[in-house]
Symmetry: C2
Subunit: 210 residues, 2 copies
DNA sequence: TATATACGGTACCGGACAGTTCCGGAACTT
DNA sequence: AAGTTCCGGAACTGTCCGGTACCGTATATA
């Protein structure tokens, strides 16, 4: 049950056609509610009201609350990062720093809030867990992996670095700070992770900052 | 509403007294259910059934589901660590390794499962959030802080290390691996965090393993 | 115009569950 | 023995909410 299904819907000639523009409104409303009250606190009526839609309009598109949420989470995947045009500053530190602009940080914070609303489900609904991982976790780790691979290719760091492992350091600390400590993630914190944890882990001490 | 209240309860002379031994059974049952199905999935009937108790027995002790859960979470605080008898191996690495015995790892896994069942509430119920933090997060970070302070005192690592920051590295990565990636935490992973992340972050490279 | 389906909105249904009440029996005080 | 409060268990109540049905209206085809 993805957006593909909406396009695959047979174009019945008769009657008023589905207003495709409502889909995005509903999905956005679902994400908002999800971020505010979590999956269990979210009701279909809340989503419908926020999207100024009728419940029937929602159920005409998604068969259940769960499917709606899976779709909503999946659709926030590519809001921010363009993998084909990642900045290339020439140093690992510069690459990482380029991903710490305010809009990116805001995007991270929003996704973290949605994620917090889903966590209790993740261990109990594998399909939703996968959608959430693909949308929130995977893209950031993927960016980190590419930066690390480039650093290896140019000889900046050792080639035997465990890329997936190191790529998860920063997401781990950001997630923990947000969900467990309930403290905000600002640029200073991200830079601190970079300089005091990630770079030392790949053998670039404080003096290699370049 | 803590266990103190149970002791403070006026010892009415009349009638059958409260069977204090039921409290622990009920709290343990609550933690089990919490770890299995999460807060929203947990019902009072489940807890009562697991503890072989009647619902009335639960409501005679706690005024609501939320209070019961807060108490249950708070009561798992001191299950494992004795802060007055922390091992002292003489090296930072040895100290950390001493906390990676199988029983300790199992304790961590159990607490993580409970925590996962609570996460969606943490941003919405500050009292519960604090109980959860005090029971799950704080003890481990506190151990790490003491080990780091000792390492500073004996001159093993630099004195300007940000102890609270570094103490959160390992909890962060363990939490992330459990909740986001849904993968198990074994000793190898913990050692990897220690050798490839924490020790480099305090200036002890792979060759200082001692 | 006639037909068909979507729209926002509302009313309703049925199940799940927090919390209450009562039962017959047990444990304690006086 | 009488009175009181506990016990496990079960029945009950009130509410919430996912999901369905239907309304009058809007927008499409033929």
């Amino acid at each position: 049950m993805t957006q593909l299904d909406l396009e695959e819907r047979p174009a019945n000639k008769l009657g008023r056609p589905l207003d495709v523009t409502r889909d995005a409104d509903i999905l956005d409303a679902a994400l908002d509610v999800l971020a505010e009250v979590g999956y269990e606190g979210m009701t279909i009526d809340m989503v419908a009201a926020r999207a100024k839609a009728g419940k029937a309009t929602l159920y005409r598109r998604w068969p259940s609350k769960t499917e709606l949420v899976i779709d909503a989470v999946a659709c926030m995947k590519n809001s921010d990062i363009d993998f084909d045009r990642l900045p290339d500053t020439g140093t690992l530190r510069g690459d990482f720093l380029s991903m710490m602009k305010p809009p990116t940080i805001r995007d991270v914070e929003h996704k973290m809030r949605v994620m917090a609303g889903l966590i209790s489900l993740i261990s109990r609904n594998p399909e939703l867990a996968e959608a959430a991982r693909a949308a929130v976790v995977a893209p950031r780790a993927e960016v980190n992996r590419r930066f690390l691979q480039r650093a290896i290719d140019r000889g900046e760091i050792r080639a035997d670095i465990d890329i997936p492992f190191v790529a998860n350091i920063s997401p781990s600390m950001v997630t923990y700070r947000t969900m467990m400590l309930g403290r905000p993630v600002d640029r200073d914190f991200l830079v601190k992770i970079l300089d005091q944890v990630v770079l030392p882990a790949v053998g670039l001490g404080p003096h290699h900052k370049g």
